[in-house]
């Protein structure tokens, strides 16, 4: 299986555009039959799509390409357009034929990782990725600082200085915390709540067993290495 843009462009030319290996990858996904039924190209999805409102993106086109099975067009979609979709799923509500353009986009995003075509798309997500892989929660309070979000206005900027102090006590309450012995789960700013390290390792282990850790290597080799080290340490501790 080729990996990377150049290799895939050559593959598409070699095979010809119709129902080539790329289309096979996409249509073999079990979600495909739920997402792509029989689009009559009425354009309802495009008329209500927020992404189409502002970007050169068009869910009706996505459906056409999924039905035509043109590899060159699928490759073009994967380059940039599929990342315009906001995954609001309004197209799913509105489609009179029960098609799911947003899920078709998810299949394309998913497969683009397997084919080594997602490096650019992952760049802005390193911080969120690090947070989920190392703490078990996706967002942390220390991400919300005025310097990172000046467009969120003066109040966010000002109160951002006091977040650790403001969070103290919000997560501690004797009742309902019997398993945590009164620990303040919301204290701290490095993770959304305190996740037990054993549970974080279970999450990392699932990524490792599944092969998502290999995908992570392409997006952030440093982070993947860090996760592997943690997993090794954990296995050693368990053996002892």
């Amino acid at each position: 299986m080729p990996k990377g843009w150049k290799e895939w462009e050559e593959e598409v030319v070699k095979h010809g555009p119709k129902e080539g290996p790329l289309y096979k990858e996409v249509s073999d996904d079990f979600r495909f039959k739920h997402a792509v039924k029989n689009c009559m190209r009425c354009g309802t999805c495009t008329s209500i799509c927020p992404a189409a409102h502002f970007n050169e993106y068009n869910p009706r086109d996505v459906m056409r390409i999924m039905m035509d099975g043109n590899d060159q067009e699928i490759l073009d979609l994967m380059r940039e357009k599929i990342y315009a979709c906001a995954q609001c799923h309004y197209c799913i509500v509105r489609c009179p034929r029960g098609n799911q353009p947003a899920i078709a986009v998810m299949i394309l995003r998913d497969i683009s990782h397997n084919l080594g075509l997602s490096e650019e798309a992952m760049k802005p997500f390193t911080r969120v990725l690090k947070c989920i892989m190392m703490t078990g929660t996706q967002i942390s309070p220390d991400m919300i600082q005025g310097d990172f979000f000046p467009d969120w206005g003066p109040k966010t900027k000002k109160m951002g200085n006091f977040i650790p102090e403001l969070r103290k006590g919000l997560g501690s309450k004797p009742q309902g915390y019997d398993g945590l012995k009164g620990v303040d789960v919301l204290a701290g700013v490095e993770s959304a709540w305190r996740v037990n390290p054993k549970t974080v390792h279970e999450l990392q282990k699932i990524w490792q067993m599944d092969g998502s850790l290999e995908r992570l290597k392409a997006a952030s080799p440093f982070l993947a290495e860090l996760v592997e080290e943690e997993l090794e340490e954990y296995e050693e501790d368990k053996d002892e």
């Binding site: 609001c88 798309a121 997500f125 997560g171 699932i206």
Partner: protein, 426 residues
């Protein structure tokens, strides 16, 4: 297992079962495939349990039953919660999570706040796709099993988690290959595959408890107008799981019970808030442009004093993108509509402290005007203790400085709808 029939019908409170005035809401008949899907999944789940493929996590204790938008009957648990926290709420609006726990305490509900819970990792799926589907479902099934071992009900705080768990339930029932993979991962961790009979969001629970909340309410919202927005991942695409008539009604129902003038019939009701997972991080130009469409419709058509939403992502997007609309190149727009989650509204009405419990100080758009109008007492000098030595930002050519914040460049850029013909506009 007992059924609390009283909770299924509200006491004399009229809920929106009629088509909306604008006529844009589809009827129940528009979703036959959703109803069929939900019934098929339930039947297949039972078959899979009989075949020994998985175990069903059945509701413990009392539950209520409600009709969802396509007409499916959904069970909502009422006690013994395993609170599946939201990373968005706990990080950005911890007051909403705190309000929930406070309400459970006030109503004498038994709950557990686990530390053996991970995020649903939905961002790694919906935003980027880096996490494959089997890994995503594996992580979710790990949380399900953890809840199962505690013999509690899986109570989801986040809307995206709600959609992700609903979809995961669908996929794991439908795909033998996926189920085999996930079972393998869980076995490796010493766990087993358990699938809940019903996926419940905490706004469903609050809706089911609305009469008990209203009974304990010290303050009524009869002086305020509240515009409602539902997170896209509460209902779009998973209609079979969203409680409602012609459209979702869980937030409307709570607000009606608290006496508010509910305004959910504005033209942009169906619009997305602009959060977009990827967009809120790397394409905020698109986010704030889309948020503007939503906010303008709410402000001009409903004159709302408050926006209430059950989605953590939408709440933050609608709250934090109001101030920057002052930088719109086609004319500054002023928005000052506070945004709260239904749990914060409920706790405030029940007498919770606005800063200690509902933690409204975390909001970017001040909530105090709403509190004032609703007659909810608050400490007027609260912000005096937060002093920052702010230096004046230097202004210069090409710089955009608003309220002493430098928003030059992409921080204040906006998108124009792509079909606007610029040549016609001159």
């Amino acid at each position: 297992m007992s059924k609390e029939s009283q909770a299924t019908e509200s006491k004399g409170i009229k809920i929106q079962h009629q088509p909306c005035a604008s006529g844009i809401c589809p009827s129940k008949a528009a979703y036959p495939h959703d109803l069929e899907k939900a019934r098929h999944l339930d039947a297949k789940l039972e078959e899979l349990e009989k075949a020994g493929e998985l175990k069903i996590m059945r509701i413990k204790g009392p539950y209520a039953e409600y009709e969802t938008v396509p007409g499916y009957k959904k069970k909502v648990h009422l006690d013994h919660f395993w609170d599946h926290k939201s990373c968005n709420l706990c990080s950005i609006n911890p007051g909403a999570a705190k309000s929930l726990w406070w309400i459970w305490d006030q109503l004498g509900i038994d709950y557990y706040n686990p530390d053996h819970q991970t995020s649903c990792t939905g961002w790694m799926y919906w935003a980027t796709g880096i996490q494959s589907l089997p890994a995503l479902v594996g992580v979710l099934a790990r949380n399900w099993h953890e809840c199962y071992t505690m013999e509690r009900n899986f109570n989801i705080h986040c809307i995206t988690s709600f959609a992700t768990y609903t979809e995961a339930r669908h996929w794991i029932i439908e795909s033998d290959e996926l189920r085999a993979k996930v079972r393998k991962y869980l076995k490796e961790l010493g766990r087993e595959l358990v699938v809940p009979e019903s996926i419940v969001h905490v706004s469903d629970v609050i809706y089911a408890l609305r009469d008990r909340i209203a009974e304990k309410a010290k303050y009524k919202l009869d002086k305020v107008t509240v515009a409602v927005h539902y997170g896209d991942h509460y209902w779009k695409g998973i209609m079979e799981n969203a409680i409602g008539g012609y459209r979702p009604q869980v937030v409307d129902g709570l607000l009606h019970a608290l006496g508010a003038n509910v305004a959910s019939d504005y033209s942009a009701f169906y619009e997305c808030c602009g959060f977009g997972f990827r967009h809120i991080i790397m394409n905020r130009t698109m986010t704030r442009s889309q948020t503007f469409r939503k906010l303008k419709s709410i402000r001009d058509e409903t004159h709302a004093d408050l926006i209430c939403t059950n989605c953590p992502g939408c709440g933050n997007t609608l709250d934090k993108n109001q101030w920057i609309q002052k930088a719109r190149p086609d004319g500054a727009e002023e928005f000052k509509i506070p945004v709260l989650f239904p749990y914060q509204v409920a706790s405030l009405c029940m007498g919770a402290d606005p800063y200690e419990i509902a933690a409204v100080q975390f909001n970017s758009t001040p909530v105090e005007p709403f509190l004032e109008k609703a007659g909810i007492p608050f400490d007027k000098n609260y912000y005096d203790k937060f002093k920052v030595d702010e230096k004046p930002v230097e202004e210069g050519e090409g710089k955009i400085v608003i309220d002493n914040v430098d928003v030059t460049g992409t921080w204040s850029s906006f998108l124009t709808p792509r079909w606007v013909n610029k040549s016609l506009k001159g």
